[in-house]
Subunit: 156 residues, 2 copies
């Protein structure tokens, strides 16, 4: 069925058009970890200032980050960047990328970061679950169906 | 604590260095949907042949795809590309990107594709769960801790 579907409105492709750039995803990673200010982001990422400014502007215009003024005593007003609800919704995607990296490309000592549940302290993982509450253990247990927005692919 | 950690061994950054390129992730998307042959991938993606060849070669050298010979009657031997276990482990990351796109950038009709659990038919979602079995509803319920491979960031 996949071969018959148009990819024009693919949700993965559209998401990547917005956030699918290395620096964009690393900015979001840092945003999730409380790094909110341009100077701090720039120092940590080691990215060119103009590239960082471009990525932040795009994330703000997409409604993923919100630009908020702040002012340190004796300084001019500056801005910090905070995740909106739309931005917070990207968390599982970043954790899923991290989890794969932890498993396949971490140093021998192990993962540099471990996520735990604030409420109980247990380690956190990304999982696929169905609405009936089953854990979906493998991509082979997943069926891909045309959704309400499915479009047939034009004949090539 | 995040600000004190070296990003040199960040699992997100390392993962993006391997798969964090638009065409690479779209090749993997199609691989998960059973598109395995160069010509089929090229037609569907509309990507330049050399770019596709480069991405496939990288995915094979990283052990994410496996190149297997096949032969149609009367044709020369060709190759198809199949996900390895390491490749299959990227599934939650792709589903998480799709889920975000379904929610925020789908057409008004709704998502083009719906994933269901093969065993019970219920729709599938990516979720964060802790090892004690709790659903982690929000990034705010997550604590970020230094892991066994944590390195302190050099003073700048």
């Amino acid at each position: 069925m996949w071969a018959d579907l148009s990819m024009e409105n693919c949700s993965i492709a559209r998401t990547l058009q917005i956030v699918g750039e290395k620096w964009t995803l690393l900015v979001l990673r840092d945003a999730f970890n409380g790094i909110r200010r341009f100077e701090d982001l720039q120092t940590r990422l080691g990215v060119a200032r103009q590239v960082l400014a471009d990525r932040l502007e795009r994330l703000v215009s997409e409604g993923i980050l919100e630009r908020r003024p702040y002012r340190e005593p004796g300084q001019r007003t500056r801005h910090e960047y905070r995740l909106t609800e739309k931005g917070l919704a990207l968390h599982p995607a970043l954790v899923a990328l991290m989890q794969w990296g932890d498993r396949y490309v971490a140093d021998v000592e192990g993962p540099p970061v471990v996520l735990t549940h604030r409420d109980c302290g247990a380690p956190i993982h990304v999982t696929l679950t169905c609405e009936d509450g089953h854990a979906v253990e493998s991509p082979r247990r997943v069926t891909v169906n045309p959704g309400p927005g499915a479009k047939v692919r034009p004949a090539s």
